[in-house]
């Protein structure tokens, strides 16, 4: 027994051992296969060798940096239970400022903590309900989901598929799903309307413009709508196909053309003013006629 102790290499703070399953930040579940010495750039480095379970790739980490990069043991069942509590809890409003969001998410992911990954997944999931995610954040969402599913499966010793289904039972609860005796509100069809339109509605621009504009004739409105459709800029690339079903679901959401009658009504309002101008000139004509009449009288004299 005493002879075996010196052979066991100390990894990190001593809590990690050869054969342990660990989580490598942004890489997933790995197994420590050993500690060896590698000559790199003419220098001997003592490295901890890990084998990624997903694809069998070998990862080597300098022994002195094991704790610095965030390598940690796979979470225990209590931690996983807290993860599901967090996932099933009603979410906060998503961070809409992309710079703050990007910085926060990058920090949480590089930290490699379990709850950091949960926070990233939950915030991006909440954002996805409001509007489609940009490509980079869609990748981040998928990466966070991948890491979380892997860790849940490893911690609870269940297949990956069962782990992901359970994760989504919390995020998209099916009817009647309970968490610790409390019934979760069932998932609804999303994502709802884009934020930009919602913001316009909150400000009440459309209502103001509708109130300000006199009700134009139906034919004119149709013409203006057609003109607007031609002049409107192309929709963003990630929206296009979504529009048809959404339009079917909420036909009342079409009042976007409403502003234009108001905008185009302004020039129409100016026209009468232009027509009113000629009457001012009329006196000049009268004066000219008087002058001509005076000339005629002079000529007669």
């Amino acid at each position: 027994m005493a002879s075996k102790q010196p052979q066991e290499p100390v990894i990190g703070d001593g809590s990690l051992h050869v054969g342990d399953r660990v989580v490598y930040p942004n890489q997933g579940i790995c197994r420590i296969t050993g500690v060896s010495v590698k000559q790199i750039a003419g220098r001997d480095w003592e490295v901890v060798t890990l084998r990624r379970e997903e694809d069998g790739a070998t990862v080597m980490v300098p022994r002195g940096k094991v704790m610095g990069i965030g390598l940690r043991k796979v979470a225990d069942i209590d931690a996983i239970d807290k993860v599901f509590d967090l996932l099933a809890a009603p979410g906060n409003d998503p961070q809409l400022d992309w710079k703050i969001r990007h910085r926060e998410n990058a920090d949480l992911m590089s930290g490699g903590g379990l709850f950091g990954t949960v926070a990233v997944l939950k915030s991006l999931h909440a954002l996805s309900r409001v509007r489609p995610l940009p490509q980079k954040e869609r990748e981040l969402y998928d990466n966070a989901r991948h890491l979380l599913v892997g860790e849940i499966a490893a911690a609870m010793n269940i297949p990956l598929h069962v782990a992901e289904d359970n994760l989504d039972y919390a995020l998209w609860p099916p009817p009647g799903m309970k968490r610790k005796g409390q019934v979760l509100p069932p998932a609804t069809l999303g994502p709802p309307a884009p934020v930009v339109r919602a913001a316009e509605e909150e400000i009440g621009l459309e209502e103001d413009e509708e109130e300000a504009a006199p009700p134009p004739p139906v034919a004119a409105e149709e013409e203006e709508e057609e003109g607007e459709e031609k002049a409107a800029p192309a929709p963003p690339p990630h929206v296009p196909k979504a529009e048809t079903p959404r339009a079917k679901a909420k036909p009342a959401r079409h009042p976007r053309p409403a502003p234009h009658p108001a905008k185009k009504a302004k020039p129409a309002a100016k026209k009468p003013a232009a027509k009113k101008a000629p009457p001012k000139k009329a006196p000049k004509k009268k004066a000219a006629a008087k002058k001509a009449a005076a000339k005629k009288t002079k000529g007669k004299r």
Binding site: D142, I152, M156, H161, D165, N166, P174, R179
Partner: protein, 178 residues
């Protein structure tokens, strides 16, 4: 190649419909391979449903797989899965992530709130083949990888992948060893 194996009786036109939809979704060949039987050992304790994980692990068939071939088993029997941290939820199939075998059921299709048999089964087929290519669930309700119990499953019967999942599956298929 994606091979379809039936564990219950399905009309040929339904199988043909599924094969065409899966082919369109992944750009891979998809064909009917043959018939099989549900392993009796996969019945759960209450004898009311089959444990989907055991079905995939214990099934005995003669289908020969080459490189990245995938097998999709189709059944009409109700399926269940091991209890997880959230308890038991609806189960319409099971797939070995990044593996070669998956099973789906038509149980419940055609009932109130769910699409008809061929459409629902084709969408489930595309979903579980996606898991075989390492795709995760998607938040887009129009995507075939959206969770099957969500209202989006019935609301959007088209068998289509979102742009992200399509590109990811294409990358995985290109990197495959076939």
């Amino acid at each position: 190649m994606i091979r379809l194996v039936t564990l219950s009786e399905f009309p040929p036109d339904v199988i043909d419909f599924i094969a065409r939809r899966v082919h369109a979704a992944y750009g891979m060949g998809c064909e009917f391979e043959g018939e099989g039987e549900m392993p009796s050992g996969a019945l759960d304790e209450e004898q009311s449903a089959y444990n989907a994980v055991k079905v995939v692990e214990e099934i005995d068939d003669d289908v020969a797989l080459y490189a990245d071939d995938k097998i999709l088993y189709l059944t009409r029997e109700p399926l269940t899965a091991p209890e997880g941290p959230m308890g038991r939820g609806p189960v319409d199939g099971y797939a070995q992530y990044g593996g070669g075998k998956a099973v789906i059921t038509s149980h419940g299709l055609g009932e109130k709130g769910l699409p008809p048999l061929e459409v629902g089964l084709a969408k489930r087929a595309a979903h579980y083949v996606g898991h075989l290519w390492d795709l995760h669930h998607c938040f887009d309700p129009r995507c075939a990888m959206h969770p099957g119990w969500s209202p989006g499953f019935a609301a959007y019967p088209d068998v289509a992948l979102c742009l992200f999942d399509r590109e990811k599956s294409e990358r995985k298929i290109k990197l495959g060893s076939t």
